[in-house]
C-alpha cells in the first residue's frame, strides 16, 4: 500500500472513531483493501440499518477465518483481496455519441446475436433516442407490477423501503458463513436486485424484459434476493447474451431464492462475461453462490443456466427441498473454449418427503479449456420417497480440451430412487465434413450440432432468450476448430 492510501486510510479510520463515521466525508471510492472500517464505510454510505452492518461485520469476521476453496478443478492466479476497491460510488458511464465509436468487434457480435440497434446502443452506453426511452419502458412495467403488489427493485432500495423483508430472508438460504465467497459477498456486497411476489400472485411478465434494461450495470459483488410467497409464480431472468466486459476481475455474487408453499420460481441465467483472450490472458473470475430453498410444500424452484463467459467459473445453483412434495430442477449448458475453465453443477438436498429433483447438465468443451460438472444429490433419512434423475453429458471439440464429471450421491433413505446417466461424445471430423458437403460451413455445423445437443436445456429458457442463447452458443465456439 502506498503512502497516499495509507494516509487516506488513517483519515477514514480516525474519522470513524472521532466522528462516529458519518458520511460527510466526500469520497467516491474507498481505498483498496478490506477491513472493518471499509465495511462500516460501505454500510454508512448506503445508509443501511444497523442489522445489516452487523451482518456484514459478522460475515467479514467469519471470512477472515476461512480460506479460498481449492477443491474445484480450476487453476488460476490467487486473488489479492487487499488489492481491490470495495466501494466505488455508482459512476455514470461515459456516454458515447454514436455507435461507430464502439469497439467494432463488439458490434459484430451484437449483429450476430440479432440484438436491435437501440438495444446495442444501450448496452454499450451510447446515448439512446427518445423513441426507445428505457425510463418509460421501465415505468410501464413498474406500474403493472405495483398494481399486483410485486416488489421489484434494487437491493439498496429494498433495504431502505422493505427492511423487514430483507432482514427476515437475507442469509436464510445462504448463511454468511456458507463459504468463502459468500462470506466475502455478504461483507462487501454493493448492490443487486430484490424481488417479492405476494401471496397468490402470478407475475404476468417475464422479469427478464425489465431486468435486461439494467443488465449492463451489474456489480462486482452482486446480491439478489427473490421471495415467492405462498401460491405465487415468477420467472426471472438474469444476465444477457451480449458480451460483458468489466475491469473488475473478481466477481462473487450471491443469489437467494425462497419459495413458500405452492410457490414456483424459475430462474434463468445467461452468463457471458469476458472470458479472456485466445491465449488465456485476462477474463473474469466468476465465483457465484446461488441457492434456492423450497420452504413450503409443493413449492418448486428451477435453475436454467447458459454459461459461456468468464475465464474461471465456480458456480453450483442448488435447491434445498425442505417442503414435502417440493421440486428442484437444474438445467445447464456450460461452454468453455480456448483457455476457459468451468467447474459448475448443482446440489439437490432432499429433506421433505416426496421431494423430486431433476438435473440435466450439458458441458461443451473446445480449445484447451476444461469443463467440469460437480453435483451432489443428498437424500436425508427423513426424506421418504424422494426421487432424483440426473443426466450429465459432455461434448468435446478437438482433443486438447477436458471434460470431467464429479457426481456425489448420498442417500440415507431406502425408499429413494436415484438415477444417474452420463455420456461423453465428440464432434467428429466426419460429422463436420458431412455437413460441409451439404453446404454448411464448419462454424454453422458446430452451431447446429451444439444446439441440437443443448436443446433439452434451451427449451427451458424464456422464448426471447432461447433464440439469442442459440446464437450465443455458436458464437462462443467460433474458432474452436480448423
Amino acid at each position: 500500500m502506498d503512502n497516499e492510501e495509507n494516509s487516506l486510510l488513517d483519515h477514514i479510520t480516525q474519522g470513524e472513531y472521532k466522528y462516529g463515521f458519518v458520511t460527510d466525508i466526500e469520497m467516491e471510492t474507498a481505498p483498496k483493501g478490506l477491513n472493518e472500517d471499509i465495511i462500516r464505510f460501505i454500510s454508512s454510505k448506503k445508509k443501511e440499518p444497523e442489522f445489516l452492518l452487523e451482518m456484514r461485520l459478522t460475515a467479514y469476521r467469519e471470512w477472515l477465518k476461512m480460506s479460498e476453496p481449492r477443491w474445484a478443478h480450476l487453476r488460476y492466479k490467487p486473488v489479492d483481496y487487499q488489492d481491490i476497491h470495495y466501494y466505488a460510488a455508482p459512476k455514470k458511464k461515459q456516454e458515447l455519441q454514436r455507435l461507430d465509436e464502439v469497439d467494432p468487434e463488439l458490434l459484430q457480435t451484437f449483429e450476430k446475436l440479432g440484438i436491435s440497434l437501440e438495444e446495442q446502443k444501450r448496452l454499450t452506453g451510447v446515448a439512446v433516442d427518445a423513441v426507445f426511452d428505457s425510463v418509460s419502458v421501465k415505468t410501464t412495467f413498474s406500474e403493472t407490477l405495483e398494481k399486483l403488489g410485486i416488489i421489484f427493485c434494487s437491493f439498496s432500495e429494498a433495504v431502505q423501503k422493505h427492511p423487514d423483508l430483507v432482514r427476515e430472508y437475507m442469509g436464510s438460504v445462504v448463511p454468511s458463513n456458507d463459504n468463502f465467497f459468500a462470506a466475502l459477498n455478504t461483507a462487501v456486497f454493493s448492490d443487486g436486485s430484490f424481488c417479492y411476489i405476494p401471496r397468490g400472485v402470478r407475475c404476468p411478465i417475464e422479469l427478464s424484459t425489465y431486468f435486461r434494461i439494467n443488465a449492463a450495470r451489474t456489480g462486482q459483488f452482486e446480491r439478489t434476493l427473490i421471495i415467492a410467497d405462498e401460491g405465487s409464480y415468477v420467472s426471472y431472468m438474469e444476465g444477457c447474451t451480449a458480451p460483458m466486459r468489466d475491469e473488475n476481475q473478481l466477481h462473487a455474487a450471491v443469489v437467494e431464492i425462497i419459495a413458500l408453499k405452492d410457490a414456483e420460481v424459475k430462474y434463468s441465467t445467461v452468463q457471458n462475461w469476458y472470458p479472456g483472450d485466445k491465449e488465456g490472458r485476462g477474463g473474469i473470475y466468476n465465483f457465484v453462490t446461488k441457492r434456492g430453498m423450497c420452504r413450503g410444500s409443493h413449492s418448486r424452484i428451477s435453475w436454467t443456466q447458459v454459461e459461456t463467459g468468464s475465464a474461471v467459473t465456480w458456480k453450483y445453483p442448488s435447491v434445498i427441498l425442505l417442503g414435502d412434495h417440493s421440486v428442484g430442477e437444474f438445467y445447464s449448458v456450460a461452454v468453455t473454449n480456448h483457455h476457459q475453465q468451468a467447474d459448475t453443477g448443482t446440489k439437490m438436498i432432499h429433506i421433505g418427503s416426496h421431494t423430486k429433483s431433476t438435473i440435466i447438465s450439458k458441458g461443451i468443451s473446445a480449445g484447451r479449456s476444461n469443463n467440469s460438472y460437480r453435483g451432489l444429490v443428498k437424500i436425508i433419512k427423513r426424506a421418504q420417497n424422494a426421487r432424483n434423475f440426473s443426466q450429465c453429458d459432455s461434448l468435446l471439440l478437438g482433443d486438447q480440451c477436458g471434460a470431467h464429471t464429479f457426481p456425489y450421491i448420498n442417500v440415507e433413505n431406502k425408499s429413494a430412487i436415484v438415477e444417474h446417466e452420463a455420456t461423453t461424445s465428440k464432434i467428429s471430423d466426419d460429422q463436420l465434413f458431412y455437413c460441409q458437403q451439404r453446404g454448411i460451413s464448419t462454424e454453422n455445423a458446430i452451431g447446429l450440432i451444439v444446439n441440437g445437443y443443448a436443446k433439452e436445456v434451451l427449451r427451458h429458457l424464456p422464448m426471447e432468450f432461447a433464440v439469442e442463447a442459440q446464437k450465443l452458443l455458436s458464437i462462443s465456439l467460433e474458432g474452436s476448430v480448423g
Binding site: F433, Y434, C435, R438, G439, S441, I449, N451, K455
Partner: protein, 246 residues
C-alpha cells in the same frame, strides 16, 4: 463439366490415386467400378474436398474452375453432391432442420433469400414420396439409428432436396433390397437431365440395369485401367477383375 487430369491423391503420405484422368460432360452418367480398396471412395472424397485426402499432383476442374480454390461447402453450393458410402450420424440435429439449413446455406451462397416455408414443406413432401420415407424418419436426428437401407435412401432424399448439378453416389446401392434399389434409381433418373451429370460408384451391374450409364470405368490401383459402354459392366460381372490386372 468435370475434368480430372493426371490426378494424384495421398492419405497420410500413402499414395492412393496416381495419374487418374476422367472427363464427365453435362448430361452424362458415368459408372465407376473396381475391386475393394482401389481408391473409388478416395476419388469421391477428393472431388468433394475432404482435407484428409491431399492432392499431390494434377487437377480437378469443375465448370471451368479449379476445385483447389473452393472449400467443401463452396463446392457443395456450386452443385457438387456426394452420396456417402457410409452416411454419418449427427445426434440431436433433426433431418428437417439439417436439410433446411443446408438448402439455405447454399441459397445464401448463390445470393438467394432463405427458402419460404411453404415451398420447403412442399418439396419435403414430394421427395419423401419419391424415396419412400415418412415423417417419422425426417423428424429423427440425421441418420441416428437409421437402418443401413434407410441411410442410403436418406442420401438420395437429400440429393433430391438439394438438386445438385454433379452427383457422385458412392455405393448407394450396397445393402439395399430390390425395392430400395429401384428407389435409388428413381431418384437418380429424376435428376438426370441434359444439364446435370452423375457418377455412380458401384460393385453391382444390377444397379446399372435401372440407371443405364453412358460410360463404365474400371478403377484399379489408383487409376482408370479400362473404359467402355454399359456392356463393360456385364463383362466385369462375368469375368471379375483378374483379366484386367496386366
Amino acid at each position: 463439366m468435370l475434368i480430372i487430369k493426371d490426378l494424384n491423391v495421398s492419405i497420410q503420405d500413402k499414395k492412393i490415386i496416381s495419374g487418374l484422368n476422367l472427363e464427365v460432360k453435362a448430361g452424362e452418367v458415368h459408372a465407376i467400378m473396381g475391386p475393394n480398396g482401389t481408391g473409388k471412395s478416395t476419388l469421391a472424397w477428393a472431388i468433394a474436398g475432404n482435407e484428409a485426402y491431399t492432392i499431390t499432383g494434377g487437377s480437378i476442374t469443375y465448370r471451368g474452375r479449379d476445385l483447389k480454390e473452393l472449400s467443401p461447402e463452396e463446392r457443395a453450393s456450386e452443385g457438387i453432391f456426394l452420396g456417402f458410402q457410409y452416411p454419418v450420424e449427427i445426434p440431436g440435429v433433426s433431418m428437417t432442420n439439417f436439410i433446411r439449413t443446408a438448402i439455405n446455406e447454399q441459397r445464401k451462397y448463390r445470393g438467394l433469400q432463405p427458402i419460404p416455408a411453404p415451398e420447403f414443406l412442399a418439396k419435403m413432401e414430394e421427395n419423401k414420396k419419391l424415396v419412400g420415407i415418412d415423417s417419422k424418419l425426417t423428424n429423427r436426428s440425421v441418420n441416428e439409428g437409421f437402418s443401413g437401407g434407410e441411410k442410403k435412401k436418406n442420401e438420395i432424399f437429400q440429393m433430391a432436396m438439394l438438386e445438385p448439378t454433379l452427383a457422385i453416389l458412392d455405393e448407394t446401392d450396397s445393402g439395399l433390397d430390390i425395392d430400395a434399389l429401384k428407389v435409388v434409381a428413381n431418384g437418380v433418373n429424376k435428376l438426370r437431365s441434359k444439364d446435370n451429370a452423375i457418377i455412380v460408384i458401384t460393385h453391382y451391374q444390377r444397379l446399372l440395369e435401372y440407371i443405364v450409364p453412358d460410360f463404365v470405368h474400371v478403377l484399379y490401383k489408383g487409376r482408370i485401367v479400362k473404359s467402355g459402354g454399359k456392356e463393360l459392366a456385364l463383362e466385369l460381372e462375368e469375368k471379375g477383375y483378374e483379366w484386367l490386372k496386366n
